[in-house]
């Protein structure tokens, strides 16, 4: 530690407003990383105190107690005690407690105090406490606790001034370290009761507004209806704003590529820049608006306190298929794109439930599958009415969505059956007070997720996209060759080689070939099919559909649709699984099981459809 900088650790119960306090203290100057080997986030920020001293603030995961079954709590304890390798012990601990929920939070304050390090208690959400008529005798609390107590309002500009002044002053003296044994742990509750009786007056245990809202939000019928409406609106917003922005970015890069085409000399370099680099960047950055729009809503739901309510309503249903109520929002996000879905599983605290959710998330029908579905359905399924009411094409599309959901349920159920750890994992979820989301906290959350995606994934995805381009381009066709260039490339050879594997599914070599670039991004399968069938002009329109309908039977089309519903695509998803679980093993498991499921389902579809046609 240099003489003029201070290392501060921020700890507190979940829902104590700790992150808002961290944001208020440090502003946007934050660094987010992971602790080595685990997926627990490490957030660090800094600010300069009025005295000119630099304060380095470490935001530790929210913790209820040090009895630590979860990796977050273990890390929190190790860091505070100075036992975490590569992490210096903090000079000062700021313990954040919600002033409206002291009965729960004071217990953890006492646990932190017993570590025997300098502690300052930040009584947060003092505005809400005053509003509810809660009176806290701060001098008395400070006297009884033996640590400095400072009032804060983390969501208000200037609401942490007193805390900054206190931290900038002399370091408080540490309380004596006490041993951690079951008997003394049990006495903590008695201490809390005594503290509460002496220093806190509460007219009412809960906020009236929370009681009123929960009466409806958790109602068996009204609550579920509200949830359905909220989700419907979120999806409308994602498709209405995220999708057009994604298309805009894709088109923007296509335009850039087109511009480069006029500048660069003809040759493989030009081709690489246009199709490999700009095509790849367009694909990767095209995900960004959908991801940001989805995360905007997820953050709003999280900050407002609604997310745990949704988890409460759906927990029982999710448990029956081996998941948890908290899996619902990530899985729903996966209907737009599996990437934000998998990133969103961070809100699932239990590692086993989180992994199960990550494994089934790619089975949800993401928006990138729609172009493929649209092409094949348009080409092979007649637009006639069934039961005089429904359009057959719509029914098939709906069936594909259902297949994804049923598949995910089945896989979740199987995971539950075969996993070694069959112990009971708890829900034990706190439903916090409802709050109005703050612009600053939502903005910082969005910024964090956006940069994680761009920094950690763009490189991998871009490299793979360029690789895909290379194998689809080289070697160049011999002079005088007829037929599209891709037929002579590595991808062409690979396609013909793999065709033996895919023949039982009814795929010809052209389809097999199109599956290779589809691994980069599913929707490119359409463009590749257009190339191999040498369809000129716009691939989206009638031309390609007509060519397909003339080249393979209905059974093959159905089999291909089913393949796309389950297949292990795209590689961006696999890259996110690698990053979020920190394990290649999980990537291999995801890839293999989805390949097996897709192969089996397509095989059955093809063979059955052939019997009937």
């Amino acid at each position: 530690m240099s003489a003029d900088s201070l290392r501060i650790a921020l700890v507190g119960n979940p829902n104590s407003g700790k992150t808002a306090l961290f944001n208020q203290l440090t502003g946007g100057r934050q660094k987010v990383a992971n602790y080595a080997g685990v997926t627990v986030e490490r957030k660090e920020g800094r600010f300069t105190a009025p005295s000119g001293r630099v304060m380095q603030v470490l935001d530790l995961p929210g913790t209820y107690s040090f009895d630590a079954a979860s990796p977050d709590e273990q890390i929190t304890r190790d860091v505070l005690e100075g036992n975490y390798p590569g992490e210096a012990a903090p000079d000062l601990i700021i313990c954040v407690a919600d002033a409206t929920n002291l009965r729960l939070h004071l217990r953890f304050v006492l646990e932190v105090k017993r570590l025997g390090r300098p502690v300052v208690l930040a009584l947060n959400m003092m505005d809400a406490a005053r509003h509810r008529g809660i009176v806290i005798d701060v001098p008395e609390l400070q006297h009884r606790l033996g640590v400095p107590v400072v009032e804060t309002i983390a969501v208000k500009r200037g609401g942490v001034g007193a805390l900054v002044t206190r931290v900038d002053g002399e370091l408080p003296e540490a309380s004596p370290a006490l041993p951690d044994d079951p008997a003394s742990r049990a006495s903590l509750h008695d201490e809390v009761r005594a503290l509460m009786a002496a220093t806190v007056t509460m007219p009412r245990a809960t906020a009236r507004i929370d009681d009123a809202l929960d009466r409806w939000m958790l109602h068996p019928i009204v609550g579920l209806l509200t949830l359905a409406v909220v989700m419907f609106l979120v999806f409308q917003a994602v498709y209405a704003s995220g999708k057009p922005m994604s298309d805009l970015i894709g088109n923007g890069f296509a335009w850039l590529g087109g511009y480069c085409a006029t500048v660069l000399p003809d040759g493989p370099i030009r081709d690489l820049v246009i199709n490999g680099l700009f095509g790849g960047l367009g694909t990767v950055l095209g995900f960004l608006p959908v991801i940001l729009v989805l995360f905007f809503f997820i953050l709003m739901l999280e900050e407002s306190g609604y997310l745990p309510r949704a988890a409460f309503l759906l927990d029982r249903l999710m448990v029956s298929v081996g998941l948890t109520g908290r899996s619902f929002i990530p899985l729903l996000s996966s209907f737009a794109c599996a990437i934000p879905g998998i990133m969103g599983t961070r809100s699932i605290t239990d590692p086993r439930d989180r992994l199960a959710t990550i494994l089934v998330a790619p089975l949800m029908t993401c928006s990138a599958r729609l172009p493929v579905y649209a092409l094949l359905i348009g080409a092979f399924i007649p637009a006639r009415r069934v039961f005089g009411l429904f359009n057959l094409q719509g029914v098939v599309l709906f069936a594909l969505y259902v297949a994804g959901i049923v598949g995910a349920m089945a896989v979740g159920w199987v995971i539950k059956r075969i996993r070694r750890d069959k112990s009971e994992h708890a829900l034990l979820m706190e439903l916090p007070s409802y709050r109005l989301p703050r612009v600053r906290d939502v903005a910082i959350g969005l910024w964090e997720r956006g940069t994680v995606f761009l920094k950690r994934l763009t490189g991998v995805i871009l490299a793979l996209t360029v690789l895909m381009w290379c194998i689809s381009t080289f070697p160049k066709p011999p002079a005088g060759a007829i037929g599209p260039a891709i037929n002579y490339s590595f991808a062409g050879y690979l396609g013909r080689f793999l065709q033996h594997i895919f023949a039982p599914l009814g795929f010809n070599w052209q389809i097999t070939l199109s599956l290779i670039p589809a691994f980069a991004a599913r929707e490119t399968a359409v463009a590749t099919l257009a190339t191999v069938y040498a369809v000129s002009g716009d691939a989206q329109n009638g031309g390609l559909a007509h060519a397909l309908a003339g080249n393979f039977p209905l059974a093959t089309a159905l089999s291909l649709l089913v393949w796309f519903a389950f297949a292990p695509q795209c590689m961006s998803t696999l890259a996110v699984i690698r990053r979020e679980t920190n394990s290649w093993r999980n990537v291999v498991i995801s890839f293999s099981y989805m390949f097996a499921v897709a192969y089996a389902a397509s095989f059955i579809t093809f063979q059955v459809a052939r019997l009937f046609s």
Binding site: Y64, L218, G223, A426
Partner: protein
């Protein structure tokens, strides 16, 4: 017999003099919706029961008042339990570890 106000739900409840107070000991998971009770203890479902330990850490200790606020829409699971100012969602199996003395009105 006299009337007192329940500190959790602000309902007027009938109480009997302490010695004759009629209480029934039930599992938290068996409380009806809206009922108030006092925690008696948390029982370990098996040796080294981390869930029971966590419940105790969260404040489910003898003498604390709890209220069953809501129940999930499917199979009345999970349960929403208020303890102090905090609301926890517990699955039935978790709540079954807590024995409580129910106030009998």
């Amino acid at each position: 017999m006299w009337l007192a106000t329940c500190t959790e739900c602000e309902k007027r409840i009938q109480c009997e003099p302490f010695l004759f107070r009629s209480v029934t000991t039930v599992r938290l998971s068996d409380l009806p919706k809206g009922a108030c009770a006092v925690v008696e203890r948390v029982e370990d479902a098996h040796a080294n029961d981390l869930i029971a330990q966590r419940l105790r850490d969260l404040g489910f200790v003898a003498g604390e008042r709890v209220r069953l606020v809501a129940r999930g829409p499917v199979g009345a699971d999970p349960l929403l339990i208020q303890i102090g100012s905090t609301r926890f969602a517990l699955r039935r199996a978790e709540a079954a570890r807590v024995t409580v003395q129910e106030d009998v009105a």
